[in-house]
Symmetry: none
Subunit: 410 residues, 2 copies
């Protein structure tokens, strides 16, 4: 069974809102094994909506629309779909009284135009909307199914879970189970090359990479009848990948490099502090972004100026003079200084050139040194990062977390 | 001139990522008067991509694609489009050497598969990618234009601004000139109420608000033949709005509350330091995100634990005991402490409850106090912010910058 998602609304074509409905529906459909080959966005325009629908009917088994079920004249979805499928719109009494009840509840006057929302295709299955005035509809005709959902996510999502998912599950014979592996310290092309055979020849499960800032994600997806069967298919492929990529793999599914590092530090029962130059507090902020991080972070400093590096970290003036603020030596002294002065398990020093200016032949924009001090030992990683200032700073932080992870896992 | 956006990537069909590229392109195209009637999302599949492209060519003047320009075998956009438009792919030497240079810069081995990214349609206009390995392309043929852009937003957006926008502007007969006013310290509905008449009745220029985190943006857009004509239409409306909103308006166009505050501090010739609790370094990081911020920020501290608030800022133990870490008094002592200890022009203290846990009846999640110390005077702002942990922390920072601005503008 394959489905097509049609998102209706001129505000989408103008970029006024993000199409989160399409992402929600796509995610949910893939979970239950419904293939989606196309998503279409079309405005509140009768002809173009009709064309999009006719095209979808010609190539998909199930069409799911979002939006255009409102009370205003430019809400056309139901009218156009009814027309295309040869359905009359008739007043649906339960929907009308439910709507009247809804308006009583929020104690607002129901206007005449709302009644339009209770007009339903004569053979349609009406889906109750507990969070708004527009009911949804399912029409089955000529071997095709069209499902109309309201646009607001807080109405569409519960309606999907309550009415649409059970309906589709009852129709589809298999499901998809997938596992995401998070890979750091190696680029997408290199990963693709190492796993080329799998990516090209494996069909169930499939292996697909996608690049994120400072990491690559590998999705292993199995087509199966049960969760168990899926995991049994995924397991050996995951092991094969782990053999190839080793400790480049830092986590699975919803893990992030930040949450993984926070977890490792909690396990060790210590704290982490950073001395940040070019990242300017972003590293500490990422830790504080994880709920409960007060257990592992008490304090952290932004030492942007040389004076601050000496004041807070005891970086030696000679070091700054001889090697410069962006150097292995300075990164080392920053990490050791913050670790000592905050009595932390892990001390991190980050110094680099984020650009756009300040680069030289010998120290280009993107040059970053990361010092990690743990158990009195300090390692320094040298990075050459690409991108704009924001990208370089974010990548520097994420690489720093990976450097901390590698030390903690030793 | 009308355009169609085709987003290429199975990860979009699976709902793994949000289609922010389509929103960005739709927003930018509407700004320059290019109509978009359809957006299509299609996976990394040769046949379906070909079908989507052929359909778009049949109904749009300009087709803009995003994604599928990567080095892996499932990156097919360029190949399929070249085929549909009868173009040979030939090695583009400049792109190849740019790519080799790029890999030298990031100190990574360029693998064979990357070379595929330098293969270009023989009659294509190549668009340089300063932030990644995949160049973009413009092909003009048989009265149609196809523009291929890389998928990653940090590559697509600068490439659009640098190469695509000027190209499209040169093709369309009339232009849109717009000016954005940035409004802080007042909510969207309040702004909408104050400007209701304008927003409803003005047709050229139009006035449209949109809400962003901790600010509202007002776009004044004129349809015109020349930049000058546009500005003449915009000028009086802007003055009218400024009369109504006064110093809620902090900047225009590309200004951000951060860049505006950095500018004000540079003018005064001083520095700023922060003592951050719930924001955990995000405030300082936002300043360091502005190029050249080393002039105004030397040091800043993350004082997450009470002990750190006493150690770095001299916050009194009684204050913490009596009023708590999240209180007007603590925010005041944090601001004064950091200002004094760093000898800064402006000292900022931020303390709050970002959630999801830690809220109480009397101190709920979203409660944030911001202290601003300037010229020995300290003001404290109390906020009640909505949203999740990330949203509350970001909003707290942005409100803090606005509080600093209001003090500096006094």
């Amino acid at each position: 069974m394959n489905a097509e998602i049609i998102s209706v609304g001129t505000e989408l074509l103008l970029g006024e809102i993000l199409n989160t409905d399409a992402q929600f529906l796509a995610t949910e459909l893939s979970k239950i094994g419904v293939d989606v080959y196309y998503q279409t966005v079309v405005g509140d325009n009768r002809d173009r909506l009709k064309k999009a629908l006719e095209l979808a009917l010609s190539r998909a088994d199930v069409i799911i629309t979002s939006g255009g079920l409102g009370p205003t004249p430019d809400d056309l979805t139901k009218e156009v779909i009814a027309e295309c499928m040869g359905e009359e719109l008739v007043m649906h009494k339960e929907s009308l009284s439910a709507m009247e009840e809804y308006f009583r509840k929020i104690n607002r006057q129901m206007v005449e135009s709302n009644k339009k929302q209770a007009m339903m295709p004569e053979h349609g299955k009406v889906l109750v909307n507990h969070n708004g005035t527009a009911p949804g509809v399912i029409i089955e005709k000529n071997g095709k199914t069209v499902i109309m959902l309201p646009g607001p996510p807080n109405e569409l999502q519960p309606m999907y879970r309550e009415s649409v998912e059970p309906y589709l599950k009852s129709k589809s014979e298999y499901m998809f189970v997938s596992r995401v592996l998070h890979v750091a310290g190696i680029g997408e092309s290199a990963v693709a090359e190492k796993l080329e055979k799998m990516m090209e020849s494996y069909t169930n499960p499939t292996v697909a990479p996608y690049a994120k800032t400072a990491e690559v994600r590998l999705r292993i997806t199995a087509k199966c009848k049960t969760e168990d069967e899926g995991m049994k298919l995924i397991e050996p492929v995951e092991q094969e990948i782990r053999k190839i990529l080793g400790n480049h793999i830092y986590g699975i599914n919803d893990d992030s490099i930040v949450s993984v590092v926070c977890g490792l530090i909690k396990k060790k029962g210590g704290s982490i502090s950073a001395a940040e130059s070019c990242t300017g507090g972003m590293f500490a902020s990422m830790i504080v972004g994880v709920p409960g991080s007060s257990e592992i972070l008490n304090e952290s400093v932004v030492t942007y100026a040389d004076s601050a590096k000496m004041k807070y970290l005891g970086v030696k003036e000679e070091t700054l003079k001889q090697y410069g603020a962006v150097s292995e030596q300075t990164a080392r002294e920053m990490a050791e200084g913050i670790c000592k002065n905050t009595d932390s398990l892990v001390g991190v020093g980050i110094t680099g050139i984020a650009g756009p200016d300040g680069g030289t032949e010998e120290k280009p924009v993107g040059l970053v040194y990361i010092g990690v001090c743990l158990d009195g030992k300090t390692s320094v990683t040298k990075l050459l990062l690409a991108g704009d200032r924001a990208k370089i700073r974010e990548a520097a932080c994420l690489h720093a977390f990976n450097a901390v992870r590698l030390e903690l896992e030793k």
